[in-house]
Symmetry: C2
Subunit: 359 residues, 2 copies
């Protein structure tokens, strides 16, 4: 079963891509090892993730979306390092043979692999014994030129600006829309403590709803942007746990404090949703939207720090880049509500408290 | 829990090793990606495997043995490619927090990583939802000089000799001893159809029993030998499914037939167990031993093909290297019982039949 499965769903559909990368992929599926030849003086980057059914995705999820996201989440790690993909390996542990799921998963995975030119170079499929849930492990390899010094989390400097790509939090709105569609919104809001979420979803224009669902189901790894940030960014990471949680990694590693501007975070949303300016509930809805940015993960947008006054890199994808705060001596992640006010420490509980108090 | 777990069992104990490899490991655990810098003009090799509890190892297995073997099985793939290890990633999916198991697993893994200078460069630990079994995925990276042409399975040539290292099948004897110790030998022999196995185990001298248990629990990746085979071997692989099954991969890829010499296979065992020459049941016991070589896996010995008359490479480990057959035009894997007899096709069923008939 195993050999057939791998061939039908992976080796065969992915072989053209591996062949198209013949200069780099010297040996792929079928030999003991995949052999990759990075160009001379290039650095190899590696990222790996495990997704477990019912923890990271659901049995009812479109398997093509699961396939797309499982590779993209790893490609996003490469983007955050300024690296370009070389290839990836896939380990699947399956409780039973589910051809429909496998075909869907494979198609979404292949779509992402093809779009980002990242060949599958090895892996295995194992029967999961008495386990009842699918487990997916992906390891992706990338490279960058040796002149690229890397974007380590410890390299942020005091007075650096904090930038983000896109509209972090959009995927969380997509998730809320999904929960609403399934009649489970109440349960979800208990979890995330988002105030006035039903009013928010109702007020969202159709195109924003579509953007949010797209961000949830088809997030894009910001590989081109990551490359454009060579020589500009000091520290960089991809947003997978919400801006406030992820920024903590940088502040801890660099021993600095991050001060986010609430005005700038609001501007991210007003830019995406201009009609909101005239909405009667504007302030409440903006509070909720800013909370999704701070808490909502899986957008796979980049967050980086750089010297003030740099020009954002030009990228073909035209992704919006916004300055949302700055680094200072100190520690932790703080929010400044108005340009003149004293920043408030942003632990998720205290911010929720603050936010609820401000309604 | 997750962060603590990784730190306690992996990041902390493995950090010295990563630091010792500072020239190659530019970034390891903690950043989005591991960054590895293979020397200029070197080829990167990748191998990955998933192990599921109750399928590939048992809850009752010593976790240090599971840790050792899970890395060694991947290192063995590098050895079969003539590559040296650069580093590895680890993905663990665990049904519950089992500190005792994790500490043991980590210690065995670290022992192998240290012995073979293979730093852990990334990974994750996830809670397995309602899954009841542990799942381990390991991806290992290696390199070789760019002058190394690789040992692809399709590169074997007619008239090549077939060589093996060590005594393939020894780990299967270790497994049989383990089953016997657990009172489950009968069940195991039904599975493998080995004749006279109890008489065999009883006749084994103590030092051979110890070697067999060692081969089962602490197999060694033949990295030095793999490197020594540069410029000598045409095709090479590591023995994980038994000599007859694994040789089929080479014969299929190279469109040749392999003819194994029963005398040479017997000589492997007489070399390891000289007292057997004088045993009253010598022929029957040798038949069973040859069957363990043909069917028994997980020795992680190497099997390679090369031009006749080459000198075996000198390796510090002093591992025995033996010619056990040759390649010819044709297909499949065959056994020649006597130098003058016509070879018999070796599908496992027919060989078992032959062997039972010869008792």
């Amino acid at each position: 079963m195993e050999f057939d499965l791998i061939h039908r769903h992976f080796a065969t559909p992915f072989s053209a891509l591996a062949q198209a990368n013949g200069g780099t992929v010297i040996a792929g599926i079928g030999d003991d090892c995949a052999a990759l030849r990075p160009a001379a003086d290039h650095v190899l980057y590696v990222s790996t993730d495990t997704l477990v059914e019912s923890v990271h995705f659901f049995q009812t999820d479109d398997p093509a979306v699961v396939g797309w996201k499982s590779l993209v989440s790893n490609l996003s790690d490469l983007a955050a390092c300024g690296a370009n993909p070389l290839g990836f390996t896939l380990n699947l542990s399956l409780p039973k043979l589910d051809e429909v799921w496998l075909a869907g998963f494979s198609s979404g995975l292949l779509e992402a692999a093809s779009r980002y030119n990242c060949p599958l170079v090895g892996g295995d499929t194992t029967s999961a014994g008495t386990n009842v849930l699918k487990t997916i492990s992906i390891t992706v390899f990338g490279q960058a030129t040796h002149t690229h010094t890397g974007f380590h989390r410890s390299l942020a400097q005091a007075d650096d600006e904090i930038w983000v790509s896109g509209t972090p939090g959009l995927a969380r709105l997509g998730l809320l829309l999904e929960y609403q569609r399934q009649g489970q919104l109440e349960k979800c809001c208990e979890l995330s403590n988002l105030p006035r979420v039903e009013a928010l979803l109702e007020a969202m224009p159709n195109d924003l709803q579509n953007s949010a669902l797209q961000a949830l189901q088809r997030p894009l790894p910001r590989l081109e942007l990551g490359h454009g940030l060579h020589g500009i960014a000091h520290a960089c990471l991809d947003l997978s746990d919400g801006l406030s949680g992820d920024l903590l990694h940088i502040t801890k590693a660099s021993k600095l404090r991050a001060v986010l501007s609430q005005r700038s975070l609001q501007a991210l949303w007003l830019n995406k949703w201009p009609e909101l300016t005239h909405h009667v509930d504007r302030e409440t809805l903006l509070d909720t939207l800013v909370l999704t940015t701070l808490q909502g993960g899986d957008d796979f947008e980049l967050c980086w720090t750089c010297k003030p006054g740099h020009r954002p890199p030009m990228v073909e994808s035209g992704v919006v880049q916004s300055c949302v705060g700055q680094l200072e001596t100190g520690e932790g992640v703080w929010l400044q509500c108005h340009p003149d006010s004293v920043p408030t420490p942003l632990q998720s509980q205290s911010y929720i408290h603050f936010s609820q108090g401000s309604q």
